[in-house]
């Protein structure tokens, strides 16, 4: 029998945080700086969940929806009138996620007309 593992708070894998952060900074980052970044990510998620809860309750719902997230990103100044949400999605998310979020009419959209 294996010893019961200690319950840890769920967190993003540090390798992923490291990868994303170094992709954007483009300068060498010290190891202890990455530790701080991980802490920040943890705090960010905690605050995100609190905010989303408040916005969902405000709309008298019990399920977080896309509208709540868009409102949050608007308040964060990420989404503005000049920078709509779907533009951010197009810019930062991989294709399979974009397809889920921005449904495109794929059927009957024949580029090459067959004779």
């Amino acid at each position: 029998a294996t010893a019961p593992r200690r319950k840890r708070e769920p967190a993003l894998p540090s390798s992923l945080v490291k990868k994303i952060f170094s992709h954007y900074v483009k300068v060498p980052v010290a190891r202890d700086a990455f530790k701080v970044v991980e802490k920040c990510v943890e705090v960010y998620f905690r605050q995100l969940s609190n905010d989303l809860e408040a916005y969902t309750m405000h709309a008298r719902r019990k399920t977080v929806e896309e509208a709540d997230l868009e409102l949050l990103m608007r308040r964060q100044g990420l989404v503005t009138d000049k920078m709509p949400l779907h533009v951010l999605i197009e810019r930062h998310l991989p294709l399979e996620h974009r397809k889920l979020l921005i449904p495109v009419a794929m059927s009957g959209n024949k580029v090459i007309p067959h004779k």
Partner: protein, 138 residues
């Protein structure tokens, strides 16, 4: 020189804000025994004016999020959520306002009921008068 109506109204609003900020700064100055320069008061006024723009946009957003077209106290609380001390203060104030509103409503009810009572009695008197007049006429 003529100016567009929007500009002149904006200047009037800014002047009103500036005046109130001046009064508030004076109170603080007397309270703390410090001096505010004219530039400082002007800067605070400008900050206040621009902050109002942010508040207005956010409140509008929150009301729309709650599928409403009228901004209510819940939206204002959501605006102040970030700072716990401010939220406490706003919540306290909104409760006070709610209590005042209730009291006023009750007073109105009492007044209106009293008025109704009076009107009924007046009407009765009038009716009696009319009857007596009628009888006199007859």
């Amino acid at each position: 020189r003529e100016e567009p109506a929007k500009d002149s109204s904006q200047y009037r609003l800014k002047a009103a804000v500036h005046y109130t900020v001046g009064c508030l700064c004076q109170e603080v100055a007397e309270d703390k025994g410090i001096q505010f320069s004219k530039q400082t008061i002007a800067a605070i006024s400008e900050i206040t004016f621009r902050q109002c723009e942010n508040f207005a946009k956010d409140l509008e957003m929150f009301a729309r999020h709650g599928k409403r077209t009228v901004i209510n106290s819940e939206d204002v609380k959501l605006l102040a959520r970030r700072s716990s001390s401010l939220l406490r203060y706003i919540t306290q104030k909104s409760e006070e306002l709610a209590l005042n509103n209730l009291e006023q409503k009750e007073r109105k009810k009492k007044k209106s009921s009293a008025a109704k009572g009076r009107t009924t009695s007046d009407e009765q008197v009038e009716a009696v008068m009319a009857e007596s007049e009628d009888s006199n006429m007859a």
